[in-house]
Symmetry: C2
Subunit: 450 residues, 2 copies
């Protein structure tokens, strides 16, 4: 077996970045994707989110492979959440400190940039190759192509083939593979706020817009063409407002006029788009082990998460970063060791971010509309200003640092307990500026030490 | 679509019993199984447990289809657990009241009896038919046979094809299918205590023998040929005693002599069997929904559980019983309604028994060796004697009644809390017979009412 021949399944964002890393390691890299080459046969990405929020962990990897400057022009910084209430009023909640932003980026062009960089470095991308089986004892993949079915030896296999991974499907039939796939009760639908007639953004482009409505919400992210991609998250069924109960123009209009009127005024194509676009489901996937022989799962294939922390892609990019660092450390002839170290280190972190993503849905659709929540964020921001090393808000640890997600999660839980006590003061709204901030830090330090 | 043409996947215990029920309903029934017909081609059931414990829920179904008297001769009653300590001493803990027993039965002959009864009633069993795909929108199954691959229309499909169900695999690719498969850290290996040289049972045949050793255990169930089938449960790896560390005769001998010496003296073929038989894994499977169009999962296919409550088969038989009762109620033209009612009613119960089976492992391998545990069982038995309707021990609710598993689970948790308080008395060992039993019942009744 030639350990320097690497097969990557999936030419998406994660598969392409991993191919770049491995080419930079001087390895032979072949990538296989079931979809056609979008440059030759454009196709509709039905049911996949178009916009993503690129943040620190993602940028760190892109910088390492020398792509930061090429990606920046595709990305629009969002410095905070702009929360829209039912009467059209808005509140801005910064994500972090001054200049800290997450970046709105569209999947299509970004993916193409990464895939072309992989090709430029010598990776071969084979499109319209569907992996239908993997034989782990012989490290052999069965592909289905237009020309028929064939088998290929693959000494090292990296499955970056997403939430519906073929490699994982094959692993699931192996003994002692633990696996969980869980759909949440909500689905989503993508909609658009186009540029104005003057060709301008219809709202502030440097924010992630949210219309939180308790059990459901609408969000909007800016695009370089001055449109916004909106995503409507509703329960599938069983609620007053749910996908099941929107069946015609009049149902749709009444929901949008009632709950999202300011957005509605900016959506001339709402009715057409709503009934044309698919209603997609949201899945959380956890599994273990990620490794079977010389095959490993990466990104969504091993830990698909719901999108509410904006970390799916960033976490997948960090997977590539960490796997690459183990290759630096142990070389190219110790895949067993590299893969084993990687999965042992990484699993607690991906479990934590999957959990955080689930928990953040309630924050986005509900808490952000609560004045107490906004005040809480203010107090935390001030703590962070005064004691930048001793109090880093959870959102910042996840989004603007590369601290392990599990560590961030644990510290976040401590912060939450401390802040619950702070917020329990009935006069907090009046007194928040006069709090004994040093005392809060001391309580936190004591809690950490326990 | 002909709604009276039923296709059952799997000719195992559950598939065969379901075929019997449906034939008695006057429906057309075709059964498909990937294995060969054991009557023509005997094969080795590697990795499947040979012995099961048939109890009330199982008998109830067999009685309903008129098979109780035919099955009885295959079954050996076990009235309690016989616990073996490390010095060869034994303690008997009854399962229930006088004459209440669970019945040791071997898979092979029992399965054959059920399959032949299904055939006698007119069901057609097609062996060596592997289901490789199911198209739910067209209700079409793809089978792989020796003669090649073919497709068959199947208006109603019942997947009784076990923990590694093909029907479930197909469902897993459908949207919004929630699924979890979890392997526990222990595996098992089957061994034998043969009949004595005089052709007698080597131990009391009317008990389930247990050698509880904390983190691991050995059990033995009697067979009609006067042998016992033993099952050794050990962690796969990472413990002082585990499968990974038993690599030769001397490792094996030292474990058995040290921990199971009385059993070891009765196992002349231990070494040969140990290294010949596979080490099998133990899986827990939960999923939902069980229904997709006119297809439904039944038994292990929808809720495979670890074997420690002896309920896997009994629960599967009860699935058949309940599904049949909905057919009685709603007729043969309302499969949507029958399937929907079934899954809604049944899911909380199968979740509860999966959980109980997991929890009972600790009881079997550890608690039963504790004198306090035995005393606790005695007190509960006395409560049951004095107040037969107000205090039914959890084990009896599960094993000797047909109360819903979820209800039994909930009552069991209340009993546990009450008994924890009773057992907290430091003089309980001396005073247990003089307790105010009526007061205990009153506490329990109050807890139930809350």
């Amino acid at each position: 077996m030639k350990q320097n021949e690497i097969t990557i399944l999936g030419a998406g964002l994660i598969g392409s970045l991993m191919a770049i890393y491995l080419k930079r390691q001087g390895l032979d890299v072949s990538v296989y994707d079931k979809r056609p080459d979008k440059r030759k046969t454009p196709y509709y990405e039905g049911g996949r989110s178009i916009n993503m929020a690129l943040s620190h962990r993602g940028w760190k990897s892109l910088e390492q492979v020398g792509l930061k400057d090429k990606v920046l022009p595709l990305a629009i910084p969002m410095y905070g959440r702009k929360v829209h209430d039912e009467h059209g009023g808005t509140t801005f909640i910064p994500y972090g400190k001054n200049k800290q932003a997450i970046y709105s980026i569209s999947r299509g062009k970004f993916n193409q940039l990464l895939a072309e960089e992989a090709e430029r470095l010598g990776a071969v991308i084979n499109f319209e190759h569907k992996c239908v089986d993997v034989d782990f004892s012989n490290q052999e993949i069965t592909f289905e192509t237009k020309e028929g079915i064939y088998k290929k030896e693959a000494p090292v296999i990296i499955g970056a083939d997403g939430a519906y991974s073929s490699l994982r499907m094959a692993m699931q039939k192996q003994i002692r593979f633990n696996y969980k796939q869980e759909y949440i009760s909500h689905g989503y639908k993508e909609l658009t706020i186009p540029a104005t007639s003057k060709g301008e953004f219809a709202m502030d482009p440097n924010a992630l817009h949210i219309w939180p409505r308790g059990k459901f919400m609408l969000i909007a992210l800016p695009n370089p063409d001055k449109s916004f991609t909106c995503t409507l998250f509703l329960p599938f069924e069983g609620s007053k407002v749910c996908f099941e109960k929107i069946n015609d123009d009049s149902d749709l209009e009444s929901v949008f006029k009632h709950y999202f009127d300011d957005a509605y005024q900016l959506m001339p194509n709402l009715k057409e788009e709503y009934f044309k676009n698919p209603t997609a489901a949201l899945i959380n996937i956890e599994c273990y082990p990620w490794v079977q022989g010389h095959s490993i799962l990466l990104g969504d294939a091993s830990h698909a998460m719901v999108p509410f922390y904006g970390q799916g892609m960033n976490c997948g990019f960090e997977d590539c970063y960490i796997l690459n660092s183990y290759l630096d450390k142990f070389g190219h002839n110790s895949w067993d060791l590299v893969f084993e170290k990687f999965q042992k280190q990484r699993k607690p972190d991906t479990d934590a971010i999957c959990q955080l993503a689930m928990e953040n849905f309630v924050e986005m659709r509900d808490s952000v509309a609560d004045p107490k929540f906004i005040l809480r964020k203010k107090i935390e921001a001030k703590l962070h200003d005064l004691y930048p090393n001793d109090w880093i808000p959870l959102y910042s640890m996840v989004t603007f640092s590369d601290m392990g997600y599990a560590e961030a999660y644990a510290q976040g839980k401590l912060q939450e307990a401390v802040m619950d006590k702070v917020m329990a003061d009935p006069l907090i709204t009046e007194n928040w500026d006069k709090l004994d901030y040093e005392e809060i830090i001391n309580i936190m330090e004591t809690a950490k030490a326990v």
